[in-house]
Subunit: 354 residues, 4 copies
Amino acid sequence: MSFNSFGNLLRVTTFGESHGAAIGGVIDGFPAGVEIDFEAVQEELNRRKPGQSKIVTQRKEPDTVEFLSGIFEGKTTGTSIGFIIRNTNQKSKDYNHNTNVYRPSHADYTYDKKYGLRDHRGGGRSSARETANWVVAGALAKQFISQININAFTSSVGDIFMEKPYQDVDFSKTESNIVRCPDEASAEKMIDKIKEIRKAGDTIGGTITCVAQNVPVGLGEPIFNKLHAELGKAMLSINAVKGFEFGSGFCGSKMKGSEHNDVFNADGSTNTNLSGGIQGGISNGMDIYFRVAFKPVATIMTNQQTINSEGELTEITGKGRHDPCVVPRAVPIVEAMTALVLADFYLLNRTRQV
Amino acid sequence: MSFNSFGNLLRVTTFGESHGAAIGGVIDGFPAGVEIDFEAVQEELNRRKPGQSKIVTQRKEPDTVEFLSGIFEGKTTGTSIGFIIRNTNQKSKDYNHNTNVYRPSHADYTYDKKYGLRDHRGGGRSSARETANWVVAGALAKQFISQININAFTSSVGDIFMEKPYQDVDFSKTESNIVRCPDEASAEKMIDKIKEIRKAGDTIGGTITCVAQNVPVGLGEPIFNKLHAELGKAMLSINAVKGFEFGSGFCGSKMKGSEHNDVFNADGSTNTNLSGGIQGGISNGMDIYFRVAFKPVATIMTNQQTINSEGELTEITGKGRHDPCVVPRAVPIVEAMTALVLADFYLLNRTRQV
Amino acid sequence: MSFNSFGNLLRVTTFGESHGAAIGGVIDGFPAGVEIDFEAVQEELNRRKPGQSKIVTQRKEPDTVEFLSGIFEGKTTGTSIGFIIRNTNQKSKDYNHNTNVYRPSHADYTYDKKYGLRDHRGGGRSSARETANWVVAGALAKQFISQININAFTSSVGDIFMEKPYQDVDFSKTESNIVRCPDEASAEKMIDKIKEIRKAGDTIGGTITCVAQNVPVGLGEPIFNKLHAELGKAMLSINAVKGFEFGSGFCGSKMKGSEHNDVFNADGSTNTNLSGGIQGGISNGMDIYFRVAFKPVATIMTNQQTINSEGELTEITGKGRHDPCVVPRAVPIVEAMTALVLADFYLLNRTRQV
Amino acid sequence: MSFNSFGNLLRVTTFGESHGAAIGGVIDGFPAGVEIDFEAVQEELNRRKPGQSKIVTQRKEPDTVEFLSGIFEGKTTGTSIGFIIRNTNQKSKDYNHNTNVYRPSHADYTYDKKYGLRDHRGGGRSSARETANWVVAGALAKQFISQININAFTSSVGDIFMEKPYQDVDFSKTESNIVRCPDEASAEKMIDKIKEIRKAGDTIGGTITCVAQNVPVGLGEPIFNKLHAELGKAMLSINAVKGFEFGSGFCGSKMKGSEHNDVFNADGSTNTNLSGGIQGGISNGMDIYFRVAFKPVATIMTNQQTINSEGELTEITGKGRHDPCVVPRAVPIVEAMTALVLADFYLLNRTRQV
């Protein structure tokens, strides 16, 4: 029972505060013999890192990962893979005003009550900086299950939605704009929206859609580790996430069985895919797709009433460098967690028949 | 690593097929000294059981639980609690036509591919009959954390939504109608809808909302066992669930930070509760509320095209006794899983400070 | 985290008190497609059951296992296997004198202090009756890894040791005498010893040796789940066990490296096998052998001073039907736990290379 | 399921090869609010480090631990504690002759077969260097459960045994000689023995005894996580360990029940303590004591026949700097693992009653 671990057979255990010496983790159960492309790992980190564009936080952190074990002469050895990412650009002073004050809709209050104390610098462990660890682990997982294609993208910012279905866009376009929406027309509107919000010192929510293609049939365990339940848990672990739906999702709750059922073709594929590629908790070989809702970032640049740890009313104004919208930087995180879930079940599935 | 287990410190491990000899489970980690109200357990099972009203399946199963261990002279002893529920009303013949045929949007195809064989009778392990086990475990959990009030209810059937916010209804009314919606006006419309759907041999989806009140501050672990991530995983484990959202949920993704932040009162409570009682993965003492989407039941009474295990196209018509809408019977299941999650974190929280 | 569970990928979770309604368990992760020989399972239970010979307890219990799930048309389905064994011959009255009294070197005192209450009938959960569950699970594991031969036998009773090395005896002889020692000359002496001890109202300890042959190379994880560490934990879980050694064991601690090293042959086998078939926590294909020490049974038929739960000094005399020596009945338990450990690592080993 | 993790509620996950960049780990579940004495941690590492005396390996490594997270202003925060120890004195060239050759009674052969490749430098992951990680984690655990006194010491080297019972020695003397035996007369003989063995280019085994005093009643779980079973697993995880016994151990197997039972005193203590402080898997408040057998180090300075990965016979001679006897440096490792086990059960025990 480890509350900083994710996964079963392929299991990542992490540590690190946003303003401590380093973050990092241990990847356990990674199979031996996988040739690691270190540049590809760093590229994934670069997609997540701060300061990459005008619409994300202007903090500059190189986010360079150092692998410490488990890889020898370019290949995984089957032993645990330790890694760290040094924290280099912490401006702890930006948070001195927070020592004693609970920022609204942050984790300051709950950490203090749960643990009796907290590292107030930059949110400490509750900072989304932690997700850089997940991107490292997910990048390795992607290389292990490289036959599966995982593509996440920004599907809405505020009330601006990508209008095309995912089948009609080209995923290779996702990285061609800074909001990571593969539909250029929608992307432009989303970027404008975020710029406007940032100018107002405010923040905005959004959604990410993720599609996994070429997934083998049979991944997922049918009772308490249903494939979609693990994906849901993975997504709900990402900072700021408020909701998860797969396949028909919440819309499916309004439908009739005669509309919702996916009719089989002779080859086992289905005509429609309202199931979202998962039936009874197990992948059926069709595209897996799901949607993740992100709330607006809690740190805003305007004045808010709040309390301090003595229960006195006080005021707080956001300082430092923050994201006006978390969604563009969360795209690689969604992909990383999806890769971890799928790789875990992929390994496990080798043990389910005699 | 047990794929038929749920929970960490309080952990339930289950077994059973819908048409086997019995279903049952083992509840491990339940603390010693809890006085068990056996009638209350049976009442929860009765809320879930088939045949209880005109709008659910007309199968009759008494669903009587037999406790085999872990309770002595009416009190839990701290040892594992074994229990079984005999299967008494299996009409396996109803499923003979399914031996070789994959029912659309069921788990027949994926089980066969994953395991190389399957128990075709009534869905076998993939049947929602399994959830009776969860209701037993959840009923015990409820008795352990009896100070927390957990109330789930039907919040929509198809496109009929309960219009009042949960704060404006009386949860004690939930059981006063067969659809389990505490707002009588909405309940009537929902019941009519389900009757109409059943008459057409069709099925319909819906949503359940669940509210947990009087939850202590501090429950939940902040990284990979966030309280809402565990609740999400629990809900997504329930048969037919397609989505989960808590607090502001998917609506929150359209909001601005200045609208979404919950301002603190001097006592640590918040003015609004878009956070849904959870901040940074940890309960903050406010109401926890979330919403769960259920797809329509896949078994419909009309003819559908499908394939058999040889990959030949064939037709199938639903037989036997099935639910036109799974939502009313799922209300106690949602509550049970919520109780299991909260009780688990409640125990764990005793270990987080020196 | 389940404290009534054993194993990782193949995982058994158990319940049951010696004088409750039933004992039983859930076997999770058992691969699909294994044809189950139910008679072989019952035979293993018969080897463990009370009343089977003159030198074990004269209690009569049929110990009939009922499988409730996970097996369909004679084959495992990959879903969890539930089973129960009804308790039929409980004479709870035999234990009425114990309600309030702590039997020396039993678990009465520690259970009471740990849980605040206890089921005093026959030791409750601390009874070795629990091990019948393990024999069921182990019997299934044996059938899954049937190519591996696991043979345990009584290697000493008190100070009577089997003098021949295991290589010089015929394991098929183990079942031909009631003490389960494959060397007939030693067996006779052991049986006489136990009869003498029983007559005196006393009990005696002993050791069991277990040999696993034809084990594939590569089983075991090299850091915290070393093959011998898991075997050791498994053996130390058996009631009355006080020690475990494998290969050269405690004798090895007196040796020099030049004596102890096992020199390789060209085919990877070794000339000697002081390593006991395990190097660096991983099986090397040679025989795995280990020895387990059992203390004398704590229940004796003579008067002993003790205390009750009020801390008052009192006296106690063993009543009921007890084993004068636990070792003969523990032989199938040692084999069952060995089978569970090996089967678990056997499955796991499928996931260690790309 | 993590095979580089140890513990349940308090859980350490490690990584690192002897000749990689660093070793390290993550300590999860450590309660918040423990003030950390960093010097005490380093002192424990110094007790384990190479080069500390004439009778251990002459390798010089500072073994300086760097904590990266989970501790703020000198106190634990309840979040995961990451740490690393840089490898500074690797002479990888010493191992070039091993690239392709399997050292007898090492893990070279089994790693190669299990993973299909291996890091041959210094044993890679199979090196006892890993245990430095355990010492770090154990040092923190000791500080959490500081009321419990844990004292391990060298109780034999080859056939030289400490003759006094542990009750008759002064544990504060353990550190006053380089072999770590608290009985000076025995210590001298042991040191002479090791010097003689080293001069011959050979190695020798030995045993360590460990005593835990002032342990609260109630630690340990009664079925599969018995206190002694977890201690046994912990000890059997240490490199070169071949056996474990607690209380009366293997000697107990020769005794009669009337000799072996521990009679209660009115206060719940026992007159004798053949149980070794554990009854039914649960601590009873008496001293816990156990003994651990270490085989002689496999690397010897004389010529041995062996094979290479092509299965060709070849010869090997130990090079580099190695321990003639592993026991003196293993004393702090035994204590560290004991502390981890006890601290884990100490936390868990808070959850066992309502």
